[in-house]
């Protein structure tokens, strides 16, 4: 590159300022919520007076434990189905260059382009009026999977593009059946991508509101509890809830980051 002239330095400086402002915009509300969750006065918490009361209140809320369990169930169910479908599809698409496989790629990415609320109401209407299934955890898992599978697919596809399928061919030349090849060769190499997809789709299912809301009837989940609380004006317990969920999400994302960094094969990861 040519020497950086003053004009270019000005542009880079401006872009850096914009990026820093964006991080501040994105993270300040999250950290402020965390700060509020341990403050006795939630309206003007300066100077700070610490309290653990909001966490105590959250813990004795009867709905909280049921909601947490249900959200975990929806998250795990969504993640299991999404990861299974997405892994199989990504392998199929990358390994067997069938003509018109582009159609399948479009199909797997289509849910990204459908508004969540439309997925919510259309599955509600279909289940209720055509299949006669009432809203429950299972239908919430199915509807969430129809959305999250796209994210799982993208995560896996992005990392498998650079996987060397010759490993698998070698195994098969030596007589390994497809399933054994997957278990002993493919999976040990691609597991960071698969786990990454599982974590992402777990978080999406766990936190989903618009799809879940229309599919769980009156069963409480953490997002629907938060919605109920918001409707009647914010109570400080909600800050505690938000802080716990945010901490969990960031912990999981940090795990994904480590997976990408130390990933067994560094599969096509945009990294140094």
């Amino acid at each position: 590159m040519a020497a950086v002239n003053p004009g270019a330095r000005f542009v880079i400086g401006g872009q850096t300022a914009m990026l820093l402002a964006l991080y501040l915009f994105l993270y300040f509300p999250i950290f402020y919520t965390g700060y509020l969750s341990i403050m006795e006065n939630n309206v003007w918490p300066f100077p700070p007076v610490f309290t653990g009361e909001w966490y105590d209140r959250l813990m004795i809320m009867s709905d909280f434990h049921v909601g947490l369990l249900n959200s975990v169930l929806i998250g795990v169910g969504t993640a299991s189905l999404s990861t299974l479908f997405a892994t199989a599809a990504a392998i199929g698409i990358l390994r067997y260059p069938i003509r018109r496989r582009g159609v399948i790629v479009v199909l797997f990415l289509a849910p990204l382009f459908v508004a969540q609320i439309l997925i919510g109401i259309s599955t509600l209407m279909f289940n209720r009026n055509v299949l006669g299934i009432p809203g429950n955890i299972e239908s919430a898992i199915v509807a969430n999977t129809a959305y999250s599978v796209s994210f799982a697919f993208l995560v896996i596809l992005a990392q498998l593009v650079r996987y060397d399928w010759r490993f698998d061919e070698v195994a098969q030349v030596f007589g390994a059946r497809p399933f054994r090849t997957f278990r002993e060769v493919t999976f040990p190499n691609i597991w960071p991508a698969v786990l990454g997809a599982f974590i992402i789709s777990f978080i999406l299912g766990f936190n989903n509101f618009e799809i879940t809301f229309y599919n769980v009837a009156a069963i409480p989940t953490l997002p629907t509890i938060a919605w109920g609380t918001l409707r009647h004006g914010i109570e400080p317990e909600l800050y505690a809830l938000a802080t716990i969920v945010n901490a969990l999400v960031f912990l999981l994302l940090f795990i994904i980051y480590l997976l990408i960094r130390v990933g067994a094969l560094r599969l096509g990861v945009p990294d140094d």
Binding site: A2, Q15, T16, M18, L19, L22, Y23, L26, Y27, F28, P29, I30, Y32, T33, L36, V43, W44, L81, L84, F85, A88, A89, I91, G92, I93, Y96, R101, I104, L107, F113, V114, A115, I117, I119, S122, T123, M125, F126, N127, N129, V130, A146, V149, F153, L204, N207, E210, P223, A226, W227, L230, I234, A242, V245, N246, L253, Y257, V269, P270, D271
Partner: protein, 293 residues
């Protein structure tokens, strides 16, 4: 036995076995329910029950009556404005990370994407603590003895800020991924040949990354157009959007057929946006660079 073995080795069979289950799942649980609301939108509702009495009254109401059309236009305008702001703001940020991020690219991008995963409701809760009447901004102003900023408290502007907050990561990610695959040396070539930086940007960088940008626009436009939580909790008395009217049909009103028609209208409007952008992508691929000469 030999036939079965040959069948198992056929790439097409293996492809179908791997891809089939997921594809079938998406067709069954995404596409068919969506098609079912197209059918319901031509029926009518009577005391909370759908009746298969074919008619187009629902569409006449949604597209003909001002109370619905007004909200449709308002939602479209909001989605267009939010997408435009996200586009203008995310581009320089994505460009900086892609070009000068060095070995920190991955961390910098993951940091912008992370808040998206904390969930819509919790993020809007957080936003209320900043912008609301007892939020940080207003309370700080009151402590200082200044006038409150009315425009940020339960208005459509607050709604827009909330929507940008929710969806700008998608725009940034889409543009970043496009720039990540962009060969920055092309820019140097343009400059060596005498193009000024701005001209090089609009003649080389922008058109070659238009497809990623268009994907970013769609990924922001669609959820913004369909936002319900944000206008409800940040928008205040005049914040109601088309989707809030739609939700009403599925809630207390119980007019499922009308609600379905509203859903179909939303879907068609989103598809129209995708189609228009898709056309521009194809034109540019064919060498069309817009107004540039």
């Amino acid at each position: 036995m030999k036939g079965r073995r040959a069948l198992l080795l056929d790439p097409r069979v293996r492809f179908a076995t791997l891809v089939g289950p997921g594809a079938l799942f998406i067709v069954l649980f995404l596409l068919i329910p969506l098609l079912s609301i197209v059918v319901f939108s031509f029926w009518r509702t009577e005391s909370y029950e759908l009746i298969s009495d074919w008619n187009v009254n629902n569409y006449e109401a949604v597209l003909g009556e001002w109370i619905y059309l007004k909200f449709l236009l308002k939602s479209l305008a909001m989605a267009a404005a939010v997408s435009a702001i996200c586009l203008v703001y995310a581009w320089p940020c994505a460009y900086l990370i892609a070009k000068h991020g060095g070995r920190y690219k991955l961390v910098l991008v993951l940091l912008t994407a992370a808040p998206f995963l904390t969930g819509i409701l919790l993020r809007i809760t957080a936003m209320q603590q900043i912008l609301g009447p007892i939020g940080l901004v207003n309370m700080a102003l009151m402590e200082l003895g200044a006038q409150p900023i009315q425009v940020l408290m339960y208005t459509n502007i607050a709604s827009a800020v909330g929507l940008i907050y929710l969806w700008i990561p998608f725009m940034l990610l889409a543009i970043y991924l496009s720039l990540f695959n962009f060969n920055f040396e092309l820019l140097e070539v343009a400059k060596v040949n005498g193009a000024r930086p701005w001209r090089a940007f609009f003649e080389v960088t922008w058109p070659l990354n238009w497809m990623g940008t268009a994907i970013g626009i769609v990924l922001v436009f669609i959820p913004t157009f369909a936002a319900s939580v944000t206008p409800r909790f940040l928008g205040g008395p005049d914040g109601s959007m088309f989707v809030n009217r739609l939700e009403h049909q599925f809630g207390s009103a119980g007019t499922w057929a009308l609600g379905s028609a509203m859903g179909v209208v939303m879907c068609v409007a989103s598809l129209a946006v995708i189609f228009v952008l898709w056309r521009t992508v194809r034109l540019r691929r064919a060498g069309f660079t817009g107004a540039g000469a």
